[in-house]
Amino acid sequence: MTGLAFLIPIAIGMGLLGLAAFLWSLRDGQYEDMDGAASRILIDEEDEL
């Protein structure tokens, strides 16, 4: 039973982490242009380095 004292906070902490990441990505505008994101991966970089 003492395991619960660790496991439950860890589980909830990980959940909160996921929630925070989701809210951050939402605020960051990552859901603004879903089709564009899918297409951008096809654009070639043209940097002559």
């Binding site: 619960l4 589980a11 242009d33 089709d35 297409s39 951008r40 096809l42 654009i43």
Partner: protein
């Protein structure tokens, strides 16, 4: 991401302007815009939003919108500047729902984790601890994620109405309160996971609904904004300055250049030209105007500059009058009750009385008030319209996504519901059944004549000349060199070719207005123009008939061309109908209990589009008509109209199946709940399974649009 656009820190010297760029279609376009635009002097960065077909440009304040538009045009994209975030309110609403969904998802997973341990047999102090933990997680989550429902339910109740959100709110609040009581008193049954899961599934439905609306709004926003919105006012000293349409005053003298749209009503003072009144009348033939003629806002001046003394501006113009009619006609539509609310009007009282009966029944049977209340709440939760909340939006989002891929933008779910109910269709002719642009019949012309005709025609902005030039260029004709080229408004073009007098002029037969005469020296040939029917018009009408919808033509055009089209398609037709009469015709049909579908493009169709039970406009329609219509179709085919009706009907079939499933599920689950046999475990499983079945059933609609692929 492979190609991040350079986003610079906001510097106070830069300003940002946003454009809609409907022609952005592929990854290459994004790359081109974001790479090429910053090469223009004064443009610092460009960022494309592919989903919304928008480009945000950061630039030097010295560059104005016109310069930026031409910079975009130079790399091959037509663009329109957009006002500062007119859709911000809706995006905000959607984001709020998504945040609530995220929080509910977090709460659901964690509370479920704890609940599974309880169901697996945790008891005694462990169970109490887990209940307390669940309560600590669930309470804030419910308070936050439940707000959209609580607010809507409160709004309905304070207006003495009831909607879908009332039973949801009551169920969630009662379940939370009872679970809290159970937790405090150390009881065995807490329903936190059911309450949170209910919110999660319902929010998923709401988010789907909001995403669908936003997506279509962005698509339609990209089509809008082609009207003239300012005018060149001639001052007393003869200088001109641009004045926005809203700031024009009656009595002002404005200069209307060839190709410009009028921004207000007025009378011609000086100049002779032809105007394209298609916006108001739907008539594609240009109308000659001379001093004294009355011209209306929205008309396009075709051949020569005009000086116009304004008589009516802003809200007093004929266009504004039509807009007012549209507004009033649209009011009736807001009384339409969506199927989900109709269902809940039947459903909510039944659920509430069942729960109340369960409580009273168990009290009479001698159970304590605590057990009776637990059972009543189990009834509320198990019947809570979780599957119902998803039944409608899930089906509608799948259907609208499928239609979008076939070139039809449906504005919202209520439009799909109304489309499915239509039983009679009224179609405008010009621009709807036909393409709306005159096409020349050049088969009779010889090679020499073609070359001369192109040399003449390409010099003019007259729609007939443009139609002729387009047809000739399409055939690969090389234009002849014409000297001494003159355009006389209302008469035609004339010039000299190898010393011979050549002309494109009005034929003597005035009734034949959709024709021009090509004269080379002494020989003359008449070139007829036709506004051809869309290639699949007949097939579309047959498809509509197959859906049980009879179609007829209701057009503002002259009787002769309308009758010709009607004969060809075998339809009944009414011609020369004014916008008010179109509106009256629709009101008459509605009064007979019919549900008319209006398909039209001109501004003269606007009030009718707004008044019809459902309406569709082509993507070439006037802005106002696109605003008034429930759906907009893009491209040269008419088939999306029939497809829309078919898919709308399929959607409603699926929605009804979804409702049917929810009802069967309730018929099975409610007796169990009434008998007090439903544990939180059963409630949770039943709820998820019913939601998944509804979503899976809705996904079948993605295939519904594939039947008519040609």
């Amino acid at each position: 991401m492979n190609a991040p656009a350079p986003i610079l820190a906001d510097s106070p010297a830069l300003i940002s302007t946003r454009f809609t760029v409907p022609g952005m279609r592929c990854a290459g376009c994004i790359g081109k815009i974001e790479r090429e635009l910053p090469k223009v002097e004064g443009i610092i960065a460009a960022r494309a939003n592919f989903s919304a077909k928008r480009v945000a440009i950061q630039h030097d304040p010295a560059l104005d919108e016109t310069a930026l538009t031409s910079a975009l045009l130079a790399i091959g994209f037509e663009a329109q500047p957009v006002a500062d975030n007119p859709l911000g309110v809706e995006t905000h609403e959607r984001k709020r729902l998504i945040r609530a969904l995220g929080v509910a998802g977090f709460g659901m997973m964690n509370v479920m984790l704890l609940s599974v341990s309880i169901w697996s047999g945790a008891d005694g102090p462990t169970r109490d601890l887990f209940h307390w933990l669940s309560a600590l997680i669930a309470m804030p989550v419910i308070a936050y994620s439940g707000r959209p429902f609580f607010a809507s339910a409160w709004m309905a109740l304070s207006h003495r109405r009831t909607n879908m959100d009332v039973p949801i709110s009551i169920g969630v609040i009662l379940a939370t309160a009872l679970s809290l009581y159970e937790t405090i008193t150390g009881g065995g049954h807490a329903y936190f996971e059911s309450a949170v899961m209910l919110l999660f599934f319902l929010l998923a439905g709401r988010v789907l609904d909001a995403v669908m609306r936003d997506r279509t709004r962005a698509g339609i926003g990209a089509l809008l904004g082609r009207m003239g919105k300012s005018a060149s006012v001639i001052g007393p000293d003869g200088t001109t300055r641009r004045v926005a349409a809203a700031e024009l005053e009656p009595g002002m003298l404005v200069l209307v250049a060839a190709g410009e749209a009028l921004a207000a009503d007025g009378a011609v003072e000086d100049g002779a030209s032809a105007i394209d009144n298609a916006m108001l009348t739907g008539e594609s033939a240009p109308e000659p105007v001379a001093p004294g003629a009355i011209v209306h806002a929205g008309a396009i001046n075709l051949s020569a500059p005009l000086r116009v003394r304004l008589t009516a501006v802003a809200d007093d113009t004929a266009i504004a009058e039509i807009a007012r009619l549209m507004d009033e006609a649209g009011q009736s539509r807001s009384h339409y009750v969506r199927i989900a609310d109709r269902a809940s009007r039947l459903y909510a009282p039944v659920v509430h009385s069942l729960a109340a009966l369960a409580f009273v029944g168990w009290m009479i049977a001698g159970a304590g008030w605590h057990q009776s209340l637990t059972i009543a709440i189990a009834v509320l939760i198990i019947t809570c319209p979780c599957a119902m909340g998803l039944a409608v939006p899930a089906a509608q989002v799948v259907a609208s996504g499928a239609l979008l891929r076939r070139g039809l933008l449906v504005k919202d779910g209520s439009a799909l519901e109304r489309l499915a109910e239509c039983d009679i269709a009224l179609l405008d002719k010009t621009g709807t059944l036909t393409l709306g642009t005159p096409r020349a019949d050049i088969a009779a012309l010889g090679a020499e004549a073609r070359s001369v005709a192109l040399g003449l025609a390409q010099a003019s902005r007259h729609p007939l000349s443009q139609g002729l030039a387009a047809a000739l260029l399409h055939e690969g004709v090389v234009p002849a060199v014409i000297d001494d080229l003159r355009e006389v408004s209302g008469a035609g073009l004339s010039g000299r070719w190898n010393g011979v007098e050549v002309a494109l002029e009005r034929p003597d037969d005035a009734a034949q207005s959709l024709a021009t005469r090509l004269r080379i020296g002494e020989t003359a040939q008449t070139i007829a123009f036709a506004d051809p029917l869309r290639t699949d018009a007949a097939a579309t009408l047959a498809a509509l008939r197959a859906e049980g919808i009879t179609a007829s033509i209701l057009s503002g055009d002259r009787a002769a061309p309308v009758e010709a089209a009607a004969r060809e398609l075998g339809l009944a037709a009414t011609a020369e109908v004014s916008p008010q009469a179109k509106l009256a015709a629709l009101e008459a049909l509605k009064a007979q209990g019919r549900r008319p579908l209006m398909v039209g493009d001109g501004l003269n169709d606007g009030p009718a589009l707004a008044a019809a039970h459902a309406s569709i406009a082509p993507g070439t329609a006037s802005d106002a008509s696109q605003q008034a219509a429930d759906a907009v179709f893009i491209g040269e085919k008419l088939m999306p109209v029939a497809l829309a009706v078919r898919v709308a009907k399929a959607t409603m079939r699926i929605v009804r199946q979804n409702f049917g499933f929810s009802i069967i599920y309730n018929v099975l689950a409610v007796p169990l709940a009434l008998l007090g046999l439903v544990t939180p475990l059963i409630a949770a499983i039943a709820m998820s399974v019913s939601s998944l079945v509804v979503v899976a059933n809705s996904l079948r609609l993605a295939r519904a649009t594939q039947g008519t692929r040609q």
